[in-house]
């Protein structure tokens, strides 16, 4: 990035900020000293990942900081791989697993750090693979680096890098083959049978699993011949002919009717004939039914809770319901067990909110039927609308009278919470001049090309006909004048066309996410894109404003003025752009309401609200997280729309954003999976939107 390196004390400070090390009496000195030596890009990379890890656990952040710093010099841009391995380990089995995964990854990565021109790393290919899988699956699948290549049906774990094929193209294809084979497990029912009874009969469980994986790969490959013949052909070429003794199995499993149970049958057959070493094939990953089951159990627990909560709310809102939450006079639950599931099976799921519907669907996929116990009304754990309200006000120190208060939409009550959000508007802090200059000079080329494209937009002049003066002759007017003259009447002297610059009459509000999660690259990308965009919009002459938003509970919603509609794009504005920083949380609804209110006051025919954020709405405490925040934000956008304001949301989210269609409607958002692309992408989006 050509920026100066961070000094050790700066690194210490940032680590301390993220991990609260002083409080915990830990010294980041050693890590900071190690990190001081590596390029800024790598420093920022590690700090960013530490920040991400710290959102799950400070301790995990610390582990990654220490391990990363120790290996930073050797690993270079593979640091991200190390951090990801740590995060995945943590997801799998907490801190212990994270520690082990980090050690493993450090070893493997160091070995791989020996340059091999054909090597393709996960980071190189992630976005591309994600796109391929999105096309196959119809919704995003999570991709992650794992010690083994396997899937639990929700996440695909892939190697950190591949250098098996002699050229990069071959390794890229191998990644695709591995990923598609894993996707096929979910698509063609590998998880529909329980392999445990068979596995239990083996002494060597790992070997049994390897055979199972191989037979499933045979079956799935045959399925792919119909679905994706080109890919199936590649796989066949890669693996060569099946060994003689497996040809019969391969033929059997290629039958269209073959299922995972047939693969298990062949595993049993192997056991009977006394299976030797499993032949190795590059495209065959591992199977881990135990881990898959654990993740499945977690998923079921999560979905059950969601569904249960939704049902409770449904009942609580229904005065005729016999099972309202907290209704203590109510007879034992068993009485309902029989009736409620029947209701639900009858298609009641449709009446549930989307997250509960998705949970029900996912449960049905996992379990075939939704177990009746989930459908019984909850006992004491039922949702209490007010339960979080006190805790929350204790957190937020209210400072003075708010500049405005806004209602918030509570989808659970299907009602407004009146004057719920306290909004404070302040001027954004000034940052460094040098930063803006640096961005402008680094992107000089891009700025020039965006400006040129924008100028072309403005170039669409409007021709005003029948003018007294102008650049062109108005032929229609000339003809008429001639006809008039002939017939003896007075011809009009308005014979010219004047080209006037088109009046775009457009006011645009940019709403920038300043929540804590944007810290690091996302924040940099936001600021850089704003600089680029401003340079470009200046060429167009549109009216625009920039505001940042963040906050900490409903009593402390902050809006920062970066550029008002009336301010010019001058040095002070640029300093405020530089000063945009990651702060607290993302209570989005109130920000949309306030900014669309400001935008509404503008005298322009078209009004556009562009939001720039890095993920779903969220606030302190888990109330605003999830569905509540999404519904409130959606409501706020609908209100804006009623005021004649169109909104467009740009989201930077590496793992796709399945909640966006619900939040923004299908046509008015885009997801950017890589913050680096934001600057050029944003300008392009703006151009398209207003062309």
């Amino acid at each position: 990035m050509g920026q100066r390196k961070l000094f050790a004390h700066e690194i210490e400070e940032r680590l301390d900020q993220m991990l609260l090390l002083k409080l915990r009496q830990r010294s980041p000195k050693e890590a900071a000293t190690q990190l001081e030596a590596v390029p800024r890009e790598h420093q920022e990379c590690l700090l960013r990942w530490v920040g991400i890890a710290a959102q799950s656990s400070n301790e995990l952040g610390w582990l990654i900081a220490v391990q990363g710093a120790e290996h930073a010099a050797e690993l270079g841009d593979r640091l991200a791989g190390l951090a990801r391995a740590g995060l995945d380990g943590f997801d799998r089995g907490g801190l212990e697993a994270a520690r082990a995964a980090l050690a493993d990854a450090a070893r493997v990565l160091r070995k791989n750090a020996i340059p091999a021109p054909q090597r393709v790393s996960f980071a190189d290919i992630e976005a591309r693979l994600g796109c391929v899988l999105q096309a196959l699956h119809g919704r995003p699948l999570r991709l992650a680096v794992g010690a083994r290549t396997w899937t639990d049906g929700e996440t695909l774990w892939l190697p950190e890098s591949l250098a098996l094929a002699p050229d990069a193209g071959g390794n890229r294809r191998l990644y695709t083959q591995l990923a598609v084979m894993l996707w096929a497990q979910a698509r063609f029912g590998s998880f529909n049978v329980d392999p445990e009874p068979e596995l239990a009969q083996w002494d060597d469980r790992e070997r049994a699993l390897a055979w199972y994986a191989l037979f499933e790969a045979m079956r799935l490959e045959a399925r792919l011949v119909d679905e994706l013949p080109g890919l199936a052909r590649d796989i066949r070429a890669l693996r060569g002919p099946w060994p003689e003794e497996l040809v019969a199995a391969a033929a059997d499993l290629a039958r269209p009717a073959a299922t995972a149970a047939d693969s298990l049958r062949w595993v049993a057959e192997r056991r009977r004939v006394g299976a030797g070493e499993t032949p190795k094939f590059l495209h065959v990953g591992a199977m881990d039914p135990v881990a898959a089951r654990r993740l499945r159990a977690a998923r079921i627990a999560r979905d059950s809770a969601t569904l249960r909560r939704a049902l409770n709310i449904l009942r609580a809102n229904d005065p005729h319901s016999r099972g309202g939450a907290g209704d203590e006079s109510h007879p034992p639950l068993a009485a309902e067990g029989d009736t409620v599931p029947a209701d639900l099976q009858a298609g009641d799921v449709q009446g549930l909110p989307p997250d509960a519907q998705a949970a029900a669907q996912s449960l049905a996929q996992d379990l075939d039927v939704i177990p009746p116990e989930i459908l019984k009304p909850a006992g004491p754990g039922a949702w209490q609308p007010e339960e979080r309200d006190e805790g929350e006000s204790a957190v937020a120190a209210v400072t003075g009278k708010p500049d405005a208060v806004y209602d918030e939409w509570d989808y659970r009550r299907v009602a407004w919470r009146r004057d719920w959000c306290h909004l404070y508007e302040t001027e954004g802090p000034a940052g460094e001049d040098a930063w803006v200059d640096e961005v402008r000079s680094r992107h000089a080329h891009l700025i020039r090309s965006i400006r040129r494209r924008f100028e072309a937009l403005r170039g669409e002049d409007k021709a005003e006909r029948r003018q007294l003066d102008g650049e062109e002759i108005d032929l229609d007017a000339q003809v008429e004048a001639r006809a008039d003259r002939k017939s003896g009447s007075e011809p009009s002297p308005r014979l010219f066309i004047h080209r006037r610059q088109i009046e775009r009459s457009l006011a645009v509000m940019f709403m920038v996410d300043m929540s804590g999660s944007t810290k690091g690259w996302v924040n940099d990308a936001e600021r850089e894109s704003l600089v680029l965009l401003c340079e470009a919009i200046e060429a167009l002459g549109d009216r625009y404003a920039i505001y940042g938003f963040s906050g900490w509970t409903r009593t402390r919603c902050d809006i920062y003025r970066i550029k008002t509609f009336d301010e010019r794009y001058d040095a002070a504005t640029r300093r405020r752009i530089a000063g945009i920083e990651a702060r607290d949380y993302t209570r989005m609804g109130v920000a949309v309401r306030h900014l669309s209110h400001l935008l509404h006051g503008q005298n322009a025919r078209h009004k556009l609200l562009v939001t720039l954020s890095d993920g779903r709405p969220d606030d302190h405490g888990d109330e605003y997280r999830g569905r509540y925040g999404i519904e409130d934000t959606r409501r706020a956008l609908l209100e804006a729309r009623e005021k004649g304001i169109r909104s467009y949301c740009v989201t930077i989210d590496r793992h796709g954003a399945d909640y966006l269609p619900q939040l923004y409607g299908p046509a008015h958002y885009s997801v950017i999976d890589d913050a680096k692309k934001l600057p050029s992408k944003l300008a392009e989006i703006y151009r398209k939107l207003t062309a």
Binding site: C131, V132, A135, T176, G230, D484, L506
Partner: protein, 273 residues
Amino acid sequence: MNSAKTVTLATPLTRATEEPYYHVVGDEVEVFAAAAQSRLPVMLKGPTGCGKTRFVEHMAWKLGRPLVTVACHDDLTTADLVGRYLIAGDETLWLDGPLTAAVRAGAICYLDEIVEARKDTTVVIHPLTDSRRALPVEKHGEYLAAHADFMLVISYNPGYQSVLKEMKPSTRQRFVALDFDYPDAALEARIVAHEGGVDEATAQKLVKLGGLTRKLKGAGLDEGAGTRLLVHAAQLIARGMNPVVACTAAIARPLADEPDTRNALDDLIAAVF
């Protein structure tokens, strides 16, 4: 207007002699025919390349009416639609625009992508689309009542669109609307095979690929591949071009500029063929 002498030159209107190939997808034919009988204007909504233009051509043939198609663009003025004066030698002649010609002769006038046209052009169609059914040709000093067979059809792609180009409710609410979407896979394969001159198996692969790209809408692509792109690829394949090369040129490249998406499309093409 008190011009000395005007002669009306009608834009020549032609009727299709052969039945344009169109595969019926739902109840669009009945709805359109009923609207034609009731003299109601029709709006076709749907993504690009899904058969809207073809459908209108087909219906014009079926109803035995001439068809005038205007592809709207941002330089299209009212005069381009309604008509203008020309000078020929010493004479001043009036030339009907395509819309006026259709109104006069009882043709179907199809305004493709109406939102692309300048704002003032939508105003001239308003009196044509309510009970007045008339076109004021101001320049020519004429208030032209529409021929009984005149029918106005517009198309509109509600997908990715500029905020400056939304259709006003006062315009939208004058039309009977038909939703167009990509036909289901089996039907689309038959269309692609027929139009592109390829065998069923190749057509099915093309449709499969098309379906994959459509799942990328909003996640890399503004819009997936329409039937038109699939037909284009089929036509290249029918000329003996390698399918992968044909699909790259006719489908992947027109769809995406962004490297990750381009590469992913290449991967998908390789996977399907």
